[in-house]
């Protein structure tokens, strides 16, 4: 029983469960709300937020997991979103390397920059694997809209990501 709860409380399980919930929001609510015709990227938001909350390496792993889950519901080649989101998580985590304790505005800037980079990187990565035609002027609108949205929700997302990724110091009472 103790082992079971340990598994449930592990960062990997939490990240997966968080990803499942966020993905369901991505494919339902955020698929309907399309400001300027742009699908807001919540999965990318949580990838970047993971980096901000737990550092570059953890951000890369979390981003990879979120991206992989996203790839499962897309028709794009599997692994493409994973590598792009992983990079975004790693990049956003860089804020912890530059600043000892990042302030809220630093987190916002890091998430916005990482988001915009990932949105621009995705068509380029697609081009590498032979999926042509995604690079266009519209990509700028998509990058700006996604970056703005993710910047607004960066701080609460980082808190949720921290819950998922940072192992609690004390185990829950029922797990003892």
């Amino acid at each position: 029983m103790k082992r079971f709860f340990a598994i449930i409380e592990s960062p990997a399980t939490r990240t997966f469960l968080l990803g499942l919930v966020v993905l369901s929001f991505q494919t339902t609510l955020f698929n309907t709300l399309r400001p300027f015709g742009v699908v807001l990227q919540v999965m990318l938001l949580f990838s970047c937020a993971s980096g901000v909350a737990a550092g570059s390496e953890a951000g890369a792993v979390a981003g990879f997991i979120f991206g992989l889950m996203y790839d499962m519901v897309l028709t794009a080649p599997m692994g493409l979103s994973a590598v792009v989101f992983g990079f975004a998580g790693y990049m956003a985590g860089g804020v912890n390397a530059f600043v000892h304790e990042a302030r809220w505005w630093a987190k916002i800037i890091a998430v916005a920059l990482a988001t915009a980079t990932a949105v621009l990187l995705y068509p380029a990565a697609s081009l590498v694997v032979g999926v042509d035609g995604l690079l266009g002027s519209r990509i700028v609108t998509v990058a700006l809209a996604c970056a703005a949205f993710n910047a607004v929700f960066a701080v609460p997302a980082a808190r949720i990501a921290r819950w998922a990724l940072v192992k609690p110091v004390r185990q829950a009472v029922w797990a003892e």
Binding site: L23, S24, T27, L29, T75, M78, G79
Partner: protein, 382 residues
């Protein structure tokens, strides 16, 4: 760790691009786990989505609804006439042993989801393998081609829209038809004395395809000719020394833009009212060019490449219909309506022109679609 992730990504991309069964198996399993969570979230977030739509789209929807009502009234009559024509065409094709869409079963499905990506253009249908849907099948709606099935599970399937950059299909494009000429009254009454032969020829100097009628002595005859609107030459030749009186009333010509110009009007019977029967000439049918239509992404019209401009076949112009080419290697059966040519972009050299296509189906407001249970040979798994 970063290197491991990168290598894993490369491995997954490679496996997926090579249509690995492992990747599709993982996707199916994940879909089974994820679907209940998605449904639950959909129920919870539905009020928010509805409120969003209500606030932003209400006025637009009202206007669109009124416009659609008007359009519906106008279209009803046309649709009935078109249905009759389609039926006739299908009967003719069946009589000649040619493939028709009528012989292909179909499944109606509803769109239940859309791709959450900003790049891919896919929809999810509420029907899957249990309804006979397979990867590669063509999806249409009442207006025309919508796309093709790219993934199918037991109860769901994914449609890639024709505007997706990864979509390509062989199509036929009709060449620009010359302006049509219809002859409404071309009755000639000639009274000739004995041993008189009169030849009435009406033809442009460049195309000597006018109708020639020789009248017998003492007879009264009527002649009807199709005359191109621009150059009309009427000659009257008398081969004997006797007097000849020939009256050739000038035919009334009507120019119809975009209508096929080939028709031969038979001469009405003597004493008849001048009613005409038109027979299309097979030699004058508007030739069609074959090309490959490719999607270009959201907000951009698909284009047709590899269309060779040829003087022999005629010019390409806007407004001509685009239909699927068919064939053993094609993704869709032949003569499925795709849309019309919206713009012709001429390119230098031997590249041939590019055609932008205005799709007949409105991909922005799809609800129910029809999946043709026709799996192309290229999409059947080995």
């Amino acid at each position: 760790m970063i290197v491991v992730l990168l290598l894993t990504s490369i491995l997954l991309v490679t496996l997926d691009l090579r249509d690995s069964g492992f990747v599709s198996g993982v996707r199916d399993t994940f879909g089974t786990v994820f679907r209940p969570v998605e449904r639950l979230t959909n129920v919870v977030t539905k009020p928010v989505s509805n409120a969003w739509r209500g606030v932003l789209d209400y006025g637009e929807l009202r206007k669109e609804n009124l416009a659609l009502k008007d359009l519906l009234v106008k279209q009803e009559g046309t649709a009935i006439a078109a249905a009759a024509s389609v039926r006739e065409a299908q009967e003719l094709l069946a009589l000649n042993g040619l493939p028709t869409l009528a012989g292909i079963d179909s499944v109606t499905a509803q769109i239940v989801g859309q791709s959450p990506s900003n790049f891919s253009q896919t929809f999810e249908l509420n029907r899957g393998k249990s309804s006979g849907i397979r990867v590669g099948m063509t999806v249409t709606n009442g207006a025309g081609l919508v796309g093709k099935i790219t993934d199918a599970t037991l109860e769901r399937s994914v449609v890639m829209l024709a505007t997706d950059p990864e979509y390509a299909i062989a199509v036929k494009v009709g060449n620009c038809p010359a302006n049509a000429t219809t002859t409404t009254a071309a009755t000639t009454t000639t009274s000739l004395p004995a041993e008189t032969t009169t030849t009435a020829a009406a033809a442009p100097s460049s195309t000597p395809d006018g109708v020639t009628t020789t009248t017998l002595p003492g007879e009264t005859t009527t002649t009807s000719s199709t005359v191109p609107p621009t150059t009309t030459t009427t000659t009257s030749t008398t081969t004997t020394t006797s007097t000849t009186t020939t009256t050739l009333p000038k035919p009334t010509t009507t120019t119809i833009k975009g209508f096929t110009p080939f028709s031969t009007t038979l001469p009405p019977r003597p004493g008849g009212s001048g009613s005409q029967i038109t027979i299309p000439e097979t030699g004058g049918l508007v030739p069609r060019e074959t090309g490959a239509m490719e999607g270009r992404g959201i907000g951009r019209t698909p284009i047709i490449r590899f269309v060779q401009a040829s003087e022999r076949l005629g010019a390409l112009c806007e407004g001509v219909p685009v239909v699927t080419a068919g064939g053993s290697q094609s993704l869709a059966p032949p003569d499925l309506v795709v849309g019309t040519v919206a713009r012709v972009v001429n390119r230098k050299g031997t590249a041939g022109p590019l055609l932008e296509v205005d799709l007949a189906a409105n991909l922005g407001s799809l609800n129910f679609v029809r999946v043709l249970l026709y799996q192309p040979a290229t999409e059947i798994p080995r």
